[in-house]
């Protein structure tokens, strides 16, 4: 589904990603872990299409398309979803109108008709249950005045509504208490299918107790320095990141 090859990216002339190689197949969950400043958020930003980052080398193939060639909105339409670390507040735009506009834009680009009001509302009702919202946020402005936990639940709700092929969860666990973490994780797990894939970006292992990854990659200094199974996350939790950095230096 996603093939990243030798990806280099910079912001304001500073190189952050220094050659990333990663392949994600349908049905898989990949965790990307790493210390602060290792390039985790840069990777998610580059994949989502933020303009501030310049890709200096490498390629990203998504379902046979050159992802780096697409505008951010076209990536979303192709099936990429980024759950933001810091979801943006948009006063004056109701959550429900926002989602309806997004769904209809995506449908329009695929040459489909606008979603019927009845179908849309049924979908809202069904999907909002996944994250324990039951339509609670519908008429509130997008993320405005939401608590940290509410914002993250709203991200997963949007993900459920948009049904992406590849979801990238950027530090979704940050700022969540254990109850909210469970709700969010359960939501993500319920959305898992053999046809979609998930990349979980996190600093801590605790989220991976709930969203169990097939692969764990350790990112340090702009490169993936170690890849393993879910047990690698536990090892990191126990020993910290220093041993990995040392290993990387030796190698």
């Amino acid at each position: 589904m996603l093939k990243i090859k030798n990806l280099h990216a910079s912001i304001e002339e500073t190189e952050i990603l220094k050659g990333i190689d990663l392949e994600v197949k349908a049905g898989e969950v990949h965790a990307i872990m790493g210390p602060n400043g290792s390039g985790k958020s840069t990777l998610s930003s580059v994949l989502a299409g933020r303009d501030e980052y310049e890709v200096t080398a490498g390629s990203v193939d998504f379902l046979g398309e050159d992802l780096l060639d697409l505008e951010a909105e076209d990536r979303a339409r192709a099936g990429i979803f980024l759950a933001f670390q810091y979801p943006v507040e948009i006063p004056g735009v109701s959550n429900i109108n926002f989602l309806k506009t997004a769904i209809n834009e995506i449908r329009e680009k695929r040459g489909e008709k606008e979603i019927a009001a009845k179908d849309f509302l049924a979908r809202v009702k069904e999907k909002s249950k996944l994250v324990g919202l039951e339509g609670k946020f519908n008429n509130r402005s997008v993320n405005e005045g939401f608590s940290g936990g509410e914002k993250k639940r709203n991200e997963i709700f949007q993900m459920a509504m948009l049904e992406p092929k590849l979801a990238i969860l950027d530090e979704t666990d940050s700022g969540l208490d254990i109850d909210a973490l469970k709700v969010v994780s359960e939501g993500v797990n319920k959305l898992k299918s053999p046809d979609n894939a998930t990349i979980v970006i996190t600093h801590y292992q605790r989220l991976l107790d709930y969203i169990v990854p097939d692969f764990v990659h350790v990112l340090a200094n702009g490169k993936i320095v170690k890849t393993g199974g879910k047990e690698l996350a536990l090892e990191l939790e126990e020993k910290g990141y220093d041993w990995i950095k040392q290993e990387a230096v030796k190698a």
Binding site: A48, G49, R50, D51, E71, A72, E73, R75, A76, R77, F81, L82, F84, P87, V88, E89, I90, P91, G92, V93, N97, F98, L99, T101, A102, I103, E105, I106, K109, S141, V142, Q158, L162
Partner: protein, 429 residues
């Protein structure tokens, strides 16, 4: 002969355009007011860049332009349909009977001012009592106004019709001085729409003055829609006097015009008054729109709300200057003022100047002014959900303007304004 020609001043040249209007139909009481205003003009000068009240708005190009009194007819087909049983149409300041229509409601008088001057006894007493005698454009209007709308809603009457007043500029370089008088008697209520439209291309100058009297317990909403062409000039003075327990709302929607200056002055002369001043300006190209508001809180226990928003695109300029004056006895005044501006390009600019003068000690007054660009983070957030860049901008602009659109109490007009916003920014939510 050549050498002897005295160069006329800008003012003389400007005023010479009005020389040929025949005002002999006015009753003596009204003619006397014209003469008094002409005398005032003698001593007044056009504002310059040194005049504080006009600091951000240079009117040189406006007063140096060549104008003529426009034709008393429409030479082109334009859509005048409005969803109302009452609409007075003025072309270049003149009343056009055959384009207007009226369906009388009992207790409500709606007619051209020229007719009201002959028929309406109470007008003699009130006419020109609210205009600012030191303001040159007001005095020019008083001296040289051709016609305008007169609306009186009788005591306790609730108008069922929305009253429309259309002012149209037509022909080459026309200049007009429309003069309106709106009188909501005690306990009455009404909604009014004033539209300014161009049926021509090129320059025009409209110097409008409205006197608005809102008596005790009356409820009046005026919506002013300015959609003239991109070379039109307009100066507009709206003088409002409110009595105790009345409610007045003015929505000024400024979309067209090269240079537009709106002066809205509210005088709150009783207690328990509620006032709303709203302004929505969508500017592009070289447009320059200047809103000056002044509200006098003279008695205790009144509430005023003011909300002005501007979206400035291209190389346009917006000005907001809102002054709130709370007199010493006006305790328990609540005055809220907010000005928010969105500047879409590096060339566009907005000047915002809130002024509070408070001489009472037990009041709640607040003002806020924000000017910023479109929130790029929010745009990226919308794009990351599949919404295109253009649509994302439209969504955010709509969100920015929605509270003002909701202030418009005339449904058809609200829909019209929403449609204009949607078309202008090419998107709908």
């Amino acid at each position: 002969m050549l050498e002897a020609t005295v160069k006329m001043s800008n003012k003389e040249k400007f005023l010479s355009h009005f020389g040929m209007i025949d005002f002999s139909h006015d009753k003596e009481a009204f003619s006397a007011k014209r003469r008094a205003a002409e005398e005032k003009i003698e001593a007044l000068e056009f504002p310059t860049s040194k005049t504080e009240y006009w600091k951000y708005t240079r009117i040189n190009k406006l007063i140096r332009e060549e104008y003529q009194l426009g034709p008393k007819e429409l030479d082109s087909q334009i859509d005048l349909s409005v969803p109302s049983k009452n609409c007075l149409v003025f072309v270049n300041g003149y009343f056009i009977e055959e384009l207007s229509w009226r369906e009388a409601e009992t207790g409500i008088a709606f007619m051209p001012l020229s007719e009201a001057k002959a028929k309406e006894e109470s007008l003699q007493k009130h006419f020109d009592s609210l205009s600012k005698k030191e303001e040159i454009f007001s005095m020019i209007n008083t001296a040289f106004h051709q016609d305008g709308a007169y609306l009186k809603i009788g005591k306790g009457k609730a108008a069922t019709s929305v009253y429309y007043i259309l002012n149209i500029s037509a022909g080459e370089q026309p200049m007009s001085n429309p003069r309106n008088f709106i009188h909501a008697e005690a306990g009455s209520s009404a909604k009014v729409v004033m539209k300014h439209i161009s049926a021509n291309e090129g320059h025009s100058f409209t110097n409008q003055l409205s006197e608005i009297v809102v008596e005790k317990d009356a409820n009046l909403e005026i919506n002013k829609l300015q959609t003239e062409n991109d070379q039109a000039y307009q100066v507009s003075n709206d003088e409002v006097q409110q009595a105790a327990s009345s409610l007045f709302k003015m929505n000024t929607i400024s979309l067209g015009g090269a240079l537009v200056r709106n002066n809205l002055n509210l005088d709150l002369q009783g207690s328990h008054i509620e006032s709303w001043m709203n302004g929505l300006s969508l500017l592009d190209h070289q447009q320059h729109i200047d809103h000056h508001t002044l509200i006098h809180h003279r008695e205790p226990d009144c509430v005023s709300h003011e909300l002005y928003k501007t979206v400035a695109d291209d190389a346009s300029t917006g000005v907001f200057n809102g002054k709130v004056y709370v007199h010493p006895i006006a305790q328990k005044t609540n005055a809220y003022q907010s000005n928010a501006n969105m500047v879409l390009t590096d060339e566009a600019s907005v000047y915002s100047k809130p002024e509070l003068e408070i001489y009472a000690d037990d009041v709640k007054c607040s003002h806020g002014s924000t000017t910023g660009q479109m929130d790029e983070e929010a745009i990226f957030y919308l794009r990351s959900r599949g919404i295109g860049r253009k649509k994302a901008r439209a969504v955010l602009l709509n969100a920015f303007l929605t509270d003002l659109v909701e202030q418009i109490g005339v449904e058809h007009l609200r829909e019209e304004v929403q449609a204009i916003i949607d078309k202008k920014y090419a998107g709908v939510v």
